[in-house]
């Protein structure tokens, strides 16, 4: 499609505008660095805790470990009940994210482009499913999934997490789709594009920032959810967040082991955001569509 949809862009690069803003940009960099410091410090503390022993954590203040130890990580990587937790979590989170995004995409398109019976009510109802304290759902969920014979499977957790992830994905994607002028759809049809071709070739690339963010948030919310995941699993699908609660025992709290497990829970998510970063960071220039 070579049609120009927006008011014709003028010649020249958009960057030259920023020359006069040197001072503002510097203030921004300063603010950014300050925030990043604030963001990193608690994480730094967690990483340092994971290389200490419990005695060292609780006995004295030190900026870095005085008696460096890998023991906490060794425990996690050699104990099957620990590392299988990571694998279980990844399986159901992946299933959940894929289902969430694939059902949310057509629905968000419908909400942003058409009006139909009960659309506004349905749209708001979706979000209301995030407003219930999850503790409320525990018993009914337990009964429902026991009846269906899905207890202690990855599918059970993946399906349960749809309750909060699908509405989130629909809302985020709808927000991005509504930002795309409807003229784009119409021009594509006039140019003879079929709906699937238009949707995947033209429309989806336009909202890839939205898809990236939605996918990351689905991953994140499902990854850290504890109550439902713990209730619906026992052994075979037990997630890492549930395994972690073992560090609190009658003999006290295993701070160092929990910190090491915490560090390792960040890693998969950091990899996910590394892969979706291009979708989020690079927008599009509509003039070039």
């Amino acid at each position: 499609m070579n049609t120009t949809v927006m008011p014709a862009p003028m010649a020249g690069t958009p960057r030259s505008a920023s020359k006069a803003r040197g001072f503002v940009l510097q203030k921004r960099t300063l603010f950014l660095v300050a925030y990043l410091l604030f963001a990193v410090l608690p994480i730094y503390w967690m990483v340092m805790m994971s290389f200490k022993t419990n005695e060292e954590i609780l006995s004295s203040f030190s900026l870095w470990p005085q008696h460096f130890t890998w023991q906490n990580y060794k425990t996690i990587f050699t104990d099957a009940s620990w590392y299988s937790g990571y694998i279980n979590s990844m399986i159901y989170v992946a299933i959940n994210t894929v289902i969430s995004i694939s059902v949310a995409l057509p629905a968000a398109y419908a909400f942003s482009r058409y009006s139909f019976l009960g659309d506004r009510q349905l749209f708001f109802w979706l979000l209301t499913n995030r407003m219930t304290p999850p503790a409320v759902f525990l018993l009914p969920f337990f009964q429902l999934y026991t009846t269906l014979g899905l207890m202690d499977t990855h599918l059970a957790v993946a399906l349960a997490h749809l309750v909060f992830n699908v509405p989130l994905a629909v809302w985020i994607l709808e927000g991005f789709m509504s930002g795309i002028p409807r003229e784009i759809d119409e021009t594509a049809y006039i140019d003879g594009y079929s709906f699937p071709k238009f949707f995947f070739k033209i429309f989806l690339p336009l909202i890839k920032a939205g898809v990236g963010v939605a996918a990351f948030f689905c991953f994140m919310f499902s990854w850290v959810e504890l109550l439902l995941a713990r209730t619906l699993t026992s052994v075979n699908a037990k997630p890492i967040v549930a395994t972690m609660t073992r560090t609190v025992s009658a003999s006290g709290m295993d701070w160092a082991l929990l910190a090491a497990a915490g560090v390792l829970t960040i890693v998969p998510g950091a990899i996910v955001i590394w892969f979706v970063r291009h979708y989020i960071a690079k927008g599009f220039a509509m003039g070039r569509v």
């Binding site: 958009p14 990193v40 608690p42 829970t265 970063r277």
Partner: protein, 293 residues
């Protein structure tokens, strides 16, 4: 206006089924419990609105509700502007943007109980970086002893934990503004502030609305982090609504009143979100019409 097309229901149907499957049955169960006195699984008595009346009269609940509303407002007032500022100052492309994105997102990925635990150590004056630093500059600080410190620590923890959500949404929203808009603004000689006010803010409206609603409802249901960090104390200073609910439900194991409480809780969030949503939509539409002038 959007064209009317009833066939759009077909596109929405999978979402409806997915959510209804997991949402409607549990909600019905809760409504069912809220109007009965469950003495044992076999013996239950219909009590009508008795539990609702009992919950509404509970003065501890009123206090918890007030604390909760104050906290959620504080969360919105800090996190939304901070998130927008952060989104505006994050680099738009190149390796720097990748690195900043990853670092900003890190705090979101930590399980909530670990967040509480880390801050528990992090805030201690004897062995934690934050506590020790505050002590060093001469501020008397103890999140376990002083209720104002405890409240502020929970707020700081929430800001640290969740501002990235606002920032990431805002950032993605900014990235999908076409260059043509900026070019037009440059031709008009628009100031930096005008670009923000008439281009960036209206274009981010959709994602910011999601951010506000998400942060509002999630902070209204905050449970794990303050529970791990302060246990609701000192006194009741950080006992928010969901912790109060859990105390009721687990402590006294009364399914009926707990269910009635949950429903009232749900309706409060629903009402406040509905007001917020409608208000933001009105503000948004006047914004765009002004910008079009």
């Amino acid at each position: 206006m959007k064209p009317v097309n009833q066939k759009a229901w077909l596109l929405v149907l999978p979402v409806f089924l997915c959510v209804a499957f997991s949402a409607i049955l549990p909600l019905m169960t809760v409504v069912n419990y809220s109007v009965q006195d469950i003495i044992s699984p076999e013996r239950r008595v219909f009590v009508g609105t008795e539990w609702f009346a009992q919950v509404m009269r509970d003065s501890d609940l009123h206090e918890a509700l007030l604390r909760q509303i104050t906290f959620s407002l504080a969360v919105l007032l800090v996190e939304i502007p901070l998130g927008i500022l952060l989104a505006l100052s994050m680099p738009a492309s190149g390796w720097k943007s990748s690195a900043v994105l990853v670092v900003v997102a890190l705090s979101l990925l930590i399980p909530w109980n670990v967040v509480g635990t880390i801050w528990q150590i992090f805030g201690r004056a004897d062995i934690g970086l934050l506590g020790a630093a505050l002590q060093k500059v001469g501020i008397e600080y103890s999140y376990t002893g002083n209720s104002r410190d405890a409240w502020l620590t929970v707020l700081a923890m929430d800001v640290w934990h969740w501002t990235p959500l606002v920032a990431l949404l805002g950032y993605a929203g900014l990235r999908s503004i076409p260059d043509a808009y900026y070019q037009a603004a440059r031709i008009d000689g628009a100031s930096k502030l005008a670009v923000f006010r008439y281009i960036q803010l209206p274009k981010m409206r959709g994602v910011l609305m999601i951010a506000v609603l998400l942060r509002f409802m999630d902070s209204f249901m905050i449970y794990t982090e303050p529970f791990v960090l302060t246990g609701g104390g000192p006194g009741n200073a950080t006992t928010f609504l969901s912790q109060y609910l859990t105390q009721k439900a687990v402590g006294q194991f009364d399914l009926g009143p707990a269910a009635a409480f949950s429903l009232i809780y749900f309706l409060i969030i629903l009402l406040l979100c509905f007001i917020l949503y409608n208000w933001m939509q009105r503000v948004g539409t006047t914004d765009t019409s002004e910008a079009a002038e």
